[in-house]
């Protein structure tokens, strides 16, 4: 192994270690709704964040969301915020109200989320295609083929 390959390997290992450290550090500072649903007493009153979650229904002062953890109730809805329509994507900052209930303090609707997702996937696809073609082209023109 050359020093250059060693440097590449060490960098990859450092990146993976950094991913682990960062993930554990964030995990230690926050609670997930899944943990709170399993042990409501230990989470009640702790801050929760639900990012980019789809509204399933909105009635009275309760908004039902669908997340990968299952159905979530956001209640009581903030009086100065209009009730979101079903299908809307929202983010909620609030605190745990027991079980799968979040008491909101701040909410934000993301009306352009779908557009961002579509353009994001299109751009990612374009980048990966371009990279693939470029690697293939460089491979065909590599010096040993000259």
């Amino acid at each position: 192994m050359t020093p250059r390959h060693g440097l590449a390997l060490v960098s990859v290992l450092c990146a993976l270690l950094f991913v682990g450290l960062f993930g554990r550090a964030i995990d230690a500072r926050s609670v997930s709704l899944a943990e709170c649903a399993a042990r409501p007493a230990s989470c009640e009153g702790r801050e929760l964040y639900l990012g980019f979650t789809r509204v399933v229904a909105a009635e009275g002062d309760t908004v039902s969301l669908r997340s990968w953890m299952g159905p979530v109730q956001v209640t009581p809805w903030l009086p100065d915020e209009p009730l979101p329509s079903p299908g809307t994507i929202i983010s909620v900052v609030g605190y745990h109200g027991g079980g799968l209930v979040v008491v909101p303090e701040l909410v934000k609707e993301h009306p352009y989320r779908r557009f961002k997702e579509v353009t994001g996937i299109a751009m990612l696809g374009a980048w990966l295609l371009a990279l693939g073609f470029w690697v293939l082209r460089r491979w065909r023109h590599r010096p040993s083929h000259a």
């Binding site: 964030i26 997930s32 964040y49 961002k116 460089r138």
Partner: protein, 166 residues
Amino acid sequence: MPDLLTHTLLNVALPAGRLRRRELLVFVFGGVLPDIVSRVPAISISRTIQPIAVSQGVDLDWVVTGFGALHLPLGLLFVVTALAAGLPRFLLDGVPRRRLAALLLGGGVAHLLLDVMQWHVRPSYRYLFPFSMRPLELGWFDSDVGFFAWPILVPLAWWAWRRSDP
């Protein structure tokens, strides 16, 4: 985060024709690198493996959030060093490795600088990790509306692309 097209257009425009096109493409790729190495694995895991893991009682939250580390200055430095040192020679296309690293890093830093200007409902970019866990965000524009800049960025990027030497 602003979308990848906004980052791409901005990084094409930023050098204003001072880079050769081959180098410009590396700089532009550096500009999408933080999202590619952090968001793509995180979203992939959260939509495929994580729901299965949760049903088996395995916690993968820390892995999903952990990939955010590659969207931080130090994480980006590791990724760029790995790429610049590890890429096989035939992929370098005549660009020296140190130059490649500088261009990728420059493009990535431009990405992080644009991201730090945003406003999120809950600030989450902890750029100073591992020295501090404090999120940094300037809150100059809503993270959802980066694409409003496309009408300005498209002609700017076109002008910069035409100015750069082939």
